[in-house]
Amino acid sequence: MTTSTANPGTRSAYWAGFRDGAPFILMAVPFSVLFGVVATDAGLTLAQAMGFTVLVIAGAAQFAAVQLMVENASIALVLLAALAVNLRMAMYSASLVPYLGPAPLWKRACIAYLNFDQTYITAIARYEARPEMTVPERVAYFFGVATPIAPIWMSMTLVGALVGKAIPEAWALDFIMPIMFLAMVAPMLKSLAHVSAAAVSVSVGLLLVGLPSGTGLLIAAGAAMLTGALVEIWQERRGV
């Protein structure tokens, strides 16, 4: 994934991505350590814990799966619940198409593997803000964002599994995740349509929080996207 043969545009896009991804180390460290601890406590071997982290590379789904495995749920239920948690990423995949669709298939496959909340939100914010970026620059930027996050996520899981101690709760690092996601979203609230979509997302998300495995979130996201699109059309008709 180096850019040694690439032109200066993609190289600088890669390093811009690296810089923008770096703050997420703060968030990846406590969660990956915790996953290592939880996974080994649950009875997974070191190899199995690392298998999860490297092959699945999706924090929330990994925690959900291990939780259900501790409860000795059926294999089908574990898989169904964990994959449902990840379904929001199909929306991420679709929303990247207008920006990354023309990239070569193997690059899109690599991006798909690395397409999780942090890389997605960072990349899409940049693509929206800079429509002049070329497709190779966008690809390089995405890899740049993933470079500081993915290896930390994997290696810190290993540390957690070996050391077996989570970072103390008094540090409140649990709340780094909400703060970082809100910090990413807030600058995107640039129109009435965006604000309305976010408001619907929050209200429906809270209302349906009791539904299993992120299905409430999927409904909330669908309703919010529709709200955004309809408000946008309404504003266009009014000529705002």
Partner: protein, 111 residues
Amino acid sequence: MNYASAEIWLIIAVMGVGTFLIRFSFLGLIGDRPMPPFVLRLLRYTPVAVLPGMVAPLVLWPAATAGQFDPVRLIAAIATVMVGVWTRNVLWAIVGGAVTLYAGMGLTALL
């Protein structure tokens, strides 16, 4: 946990492949083909439609307090959004939220 080692590896493998296919889905299959304008319009709102709904329950019922509402965390979340909207800068928003969170926790510890 009562699974055989092979069963655990089966779970890991299917989850890995399934998650990859979810992430690859549209990006892999549609590629360069044009999408209908209304779909593009919907997709523009993906980030603001998914993340606020994902974070809201964590703000109101934090896992670290066993789901007990915590005013400090709510105020920190509001501060993050306000700084982010005002400065349009992600790092300032993170700093604003983190400073509010730790200042609030420090204050409640003193009181």
